[in-house]
Amino acid sequence: MNKIIKLLKQPRVIILLLALIISFLSINHQFNQEGVTISGIETNSSSYESGLRTPSSDVSPTAKERILEINKVKVSSIEEFYNLTEEIPFNTTVRIKTSKREYVFLKDTTKTGISVTDAPKSNLRKGIDLQGGTRVLLKPLTEVNDQDLKDIIDTMENRLNVYGLADVTIKSSSDLEGNKFIVVEIAGTTREEIQSIISNQGKFEAKIGNKTVFQGGQKDITFVCRTDGTCSRILACQRSSEGYFCRFEFEISLSPQAAEGHAEITKKLAIVSGVSGQRSLNETIDFYLDNQQVDELNIDASLKGQKATRITISGSGSGATEKEAIDDTVKNRNRLQTLLITGSLPTKLEIVKIDTLSPSLGEKFVNNALLVGLLATLGVALVIFIRYRSLKITIPTMITVLCEIYIILGFAAIFKQNLDLVSIAAILAAVGTGVDDQIVITDEILFGGSSGLKQQIKKAFFVILAAYATTIAAMLPLLRAGAGLLTGFAVVTIVGVSIGVLITRPAFGVIVRTLMED
């Protein structure tokens, strides 16, 4: 008892305890979080209008807004949430109670525009390989500067927002040779078209003859009709030789300058009569996406020389069955609408790596890592006990190892570091090798000769610091190598050994010394 009080007065032990408390607070374990966490809100959906927003990726996972009730019914799982929202009839009020406040909106489409995930149990962020999802590594095809990279990322974020996809992080990264990359990580299961949404340059042009009337983006296009059925619709599908074929159309509003351009170009065109007696202009308006023609439309004769601000955009989709054709058409329409709203990327991008990992796999990895970590700690305890035959050494060694792992996790939570499989490997390896230093300290204390305990620990730290320096040296180049995909691993290793040298092992030295004093 006396010894424990004595230990608690030691500055090194106090620092260790402080670090543990900070880790505990930042990891913020939640044992019975209610509700489901909002992961994304589709821009301009009715829920968006009511004030709900996609949480920023900077917000720590447990602090994100949670949906607790829908129309007074408690929500406790993702499935429940989607079942409840689907059951709500059209044009009725939806009341959503969240952890912050209550939101009320009218359900005007089949979907509410809200996506949710399970309420997180802590602030630890799992990498794509542990929680499931898609990671895309893109490389600009031309030289880009930092501003271009920022523009690309902004446009991509915009596109994903417009598309209603949340839980996405987009970061730029570079490698040892100075190549620049963009890393997109999308958590959870994703739709297939997402690849083209983020990686296509998305240069939309409407041309009459070879003259460009307007382009995608906010400069020319001030409004895109998306959810309103009166100005956006799928037309009746038709049978074709290969299956079914459907068309979509939706209206957009042009800026005054773009409308001016339309008047200027159409003024010079001649009016012709079609087969069915319709009068139209002698040139069509053609729509191009990334220099590929996607559709062409006749221009009604009444529009000749007019500053048309409302324009109908059209396109099509096809499939083997009618349902497939409709799905394809909706997909194409949504993509085109997104690109029209967000405009094109400053440069073309190439997908250099794409990984899709199943969430069920990730869950198995996490549980397994916990098991392996526990067994490894016990294994180390056994070896230490066999060697020193003393619980006074074995128990502090174990405690140190576990504290070290916990503080590494705390650091990851504070600095929003994603934990992936390779980081877990680094942490597991730290169990085996971090214990090296405890052994060196124990050894000095037990067999260090006559030079006094303090001196012995000092000597031990010489060896420890030398080993520390070499490990840091080995990890430094990894911070940048491999397009930044290994940064997490390097950071976890550097942090792990630093925490060991600065916090846990000094405390270990004091603890063993105090326990050995009689």
């Binding site: 250099v352 390779v422 597991l428 390896a429 085996g432 090296d436 040296a473």
Partner: protein, 292 residues
């Protein structure tokens, strides 16, 4: 006593004992050289370093490796996933460079009749260009790490021969481990190269300890100090090897298994390079400098 027997044996034979790891090093270099001439690569690169698809399929359906390879018709690597705690098959990983994803999926679903869903199918696709860049940079990283490690060892001991001995031991660990990895036919991924990088850090731990006891400490006889340092160092290695073995047996992640297998081999080699070669160099150095 056991220790006395070792001491007398060591004093008489240390010259040829320290050559055992050196011989292994030479053999390894020859083996790696032959491999490089034959295949153009000095180790077996997996798809993350060569470009291609690594598809993980979770299925309880029993499919033999032969069935998979004959269905694929192109060179491939197949890794099995199993759950040690229950002994059940979880699925397998197929790595191919010469098929695109569509082709692979078609073979899996049509020829092998495996159902692929979002839950059971994961895949990582790397373009050859990117994997080449990965490989090049990881090699640079290893070189860098090695040089930085060398500098910190020199700064620590400020003596030439002992520092070189530490660095040489690390180099031996890496090269002999690589030769063994090649011999057992392991394909190395990005994570595997990271494991080699970790070896640099782990390898020097025991060497620094040994050098510290030999040239910086003054209590007792030189042999006793080194013998004691070996006992401590072997405890360290035993701990690390225990963790690696447990990970190797119980982990269900091929990434962790690959890394831990490489580190485990290196830890074994490190025992030889540290307590046979490095100890020999230190022994000669101390005798010459009159350290006893």
């Amino acid at each position: 006593m056991f220790k006395d027997k070792i001491e007398s044996f060591w004093s008489k034979n240390y010259k040829w004992i320290m050559c055992i790891p050196l011989t292994l090093l030479v053999i390894s270099l020859v083996l790696i050289g032959i491999k490089t001439v034959q295949t153009g690569d000095f180790f077996n690169k997996d798809v993350s370093l060569r470009g291609g698809i690594a598809a993980t399929i979770h299925t309880e359906k029993e499919v033999t490796d032969e069935e998979i390879t004959s269905a694929l018709k192109v060179p491939s690597t197949i890794k099995r996933l199993g759950d040690r705690t229950t002994g059940k098959q979880l699925g397998f990983i197929i790595e191919v460079s010469d098929l695109n994803e569509e082709q692979l999926k078609e073979i899996l679903t049509k020829k092998l009749n495996i159902e692929l869903t979002e839950k059971t199918y994961s895949r990582e696709i790397t373009t050859p260009k990117l994997s080449q860049a990965f490989f090049k940079q990881l090699m640079i990283a290893i070189l860098f790490a090695f040089i930085l490690m060398g500098i910190s060892v020199f700064v620590t001991f400020r003596t030439f021969a002992p520092s070189i001995a530490v660095i040489a031991a690390a180099l031996m660990d890496i090269i002999i481990t690589l030769a063994i990895v090649n011999l057992i036919g392991l394909t190395v991924s990005v994570a595997g190269i990271v494991a080699f990088l970790l070896i640099i850090g782990y390898s020097v731990d025991t060497d620094i300890l040994l050098t510290n006891y030999a040239i910086r400490k003054k209590e007792g006889k030189l042999f006793d100090r080194m013998y004691h340092s070996m006992k401590t160092g072997l405890t360290m290695t035993a701990c690390a090897m225990t963790v690696m073995t447990i990970g190797l047996i119980f982990s269900n992640s091929s990434v962790i298994k690959e890394m831990f297998l490489i580190i485990l081999i290196a830890l074994g080699i490190d025992v030889l390079s540290t307590y046979l070669t490095n100890a020999g160099i230190l022994w000669i150095y101390c005798k010459k400098k009159g350290i006893s």
